[in-house]
Symmetry: C2
Subunit: 221 residues, 2 copies
């Protein structure tokens, strides 16, 4: 008797039904390739602030492409100074420029500067603390814009369908390592073009020893 | 009809049985008072190293009692210097002194020093990296002893019975906050006298925003 003959018709139909139900836009539900990235402290600047800090007419110089298309780490860095004149000497600028300048720190960084930093999604900077940004050609005093970026996961709509989530939902990220952690409440940032990528900060990456992780899994909450 | 009369005898017996089964040494199973503490970077020193660093005959000065009886933060601090002459200027010494000197760092600290630090339980320092320790009266070159302390929970045997765990087991710690985290695989360190207390490091505490946590729960894995 062949193996095929042993399968009963109902069981086969059930398997087919599950595959069809799980398929997305007619494509089979292949597990997306999950990238988990650590965002070290960095800042985003306006065109105007780039010119104040680096000189009239200056534009950012691309040093290294980020995983998300169109974004890059710039060659330029700035000094970030906190309210008690403590400072971080060399904070990377990420490009391209933005409509508002923003500094993203881990809590460890913020504590070292003496800034009580709120957890915010990128761009949501109303009523956040400020800092002083020092470049080789000038200084900018930011009245607001210092945040700890809320942990989040970028994805496109096909990934969102795979996981059964929508933009704005929350997911968990399980990291297996010698320091295993489950991070709760990652914000889902789904759009048409993003690649599947989790962003956590250095405190989170170090807490979980992400560098030596054996498995990372996104889980619908 | 009174409420009591509505309870059937079997249900009452079941409730009583559960209470009796859960009781520990005849005492009712009251949930222990869980303390979660962040251990910032610190070091433990031998008597000999205290004298080299602070002068002949010097002993540590108690500054602040720790939660565990008999342990304290000393007034004295040392400078820790890494292999590339990067340093942490002021690292607290915890007392009392020990048979072997040991430096406990978060990964963020170790990375800033340029030390690739292993995750170890306290005291397990064979084949770990060393560092230079600088005090006001002298210098010690530690050949080994720099670790990231493995996250762990101290408890006494009654707490262990409450949670159904034994010394050496692993538990999870769930922290609810704006940055909720489940830390996996906390080492249980159970003995006769310890108070129930979780020790995590600054990376872990900051990753979970422990300071603003609304709930912390120990869970048997």
């Amino acid at each position: 008797m062949s193996i095929t003959a042993e399968l009963d018709r109902g069981a086969v139909e059930q398997i087919v039904r599950e595959i069809v139900l799980k398929s997305v836009n007619g494509r089979p539900p292949i597990e997306p390739n999950l990238i988990v990235s650590i965002s070290a402290r960095h800042c985003h600047l306006t065109d105007e602030h780039v010119e104040v800090l680096f000189g009239a007419g200056h534009t950012l110089t691309e040093m290294k492409d980020l995983y998300q298309d169109g974004f890059y780490a710039a060659k330029e860095t700035v000094m970030i100074v906190g309210p008690r004149r403590r400072m971080l000497p060399s904070v990377r600028i990420l490009g391209p420029t933005r409509p508002a300048s923003q500094v993203e720190l881990a809590f460890t960084d913020a504590i070292s500067l003496g800034i009580d930093v709120p957890v915010r999604r990128s761009g949501d900077i109303d009523n956040t603390p400020g800092c002083v940004v020092v470049g080789p050609a000038g200084v900018v005093e930011l009245k607001q814009g210092v945040i700890r970026a809320e942990r989040h996961v970028h994805m496109n709509q096909q990934d969102a369908a795979y996981y059964g989530v929508q933009n704005g939902d929350r997911m968990s990220l399980a990291i297996e390592s010698s320091c295993g952690v489950v991070f709760r409440d990652l914000l889902v940032r789904a759009d048409e073009t993003s690649k599947l990528e989790v962003h956590i900060d250095t405190d989170e990456g170090n807490a979980a020893d992400l560098e030596n992780a054996t498995k990372c899994e996104l889980i619908k909450q």
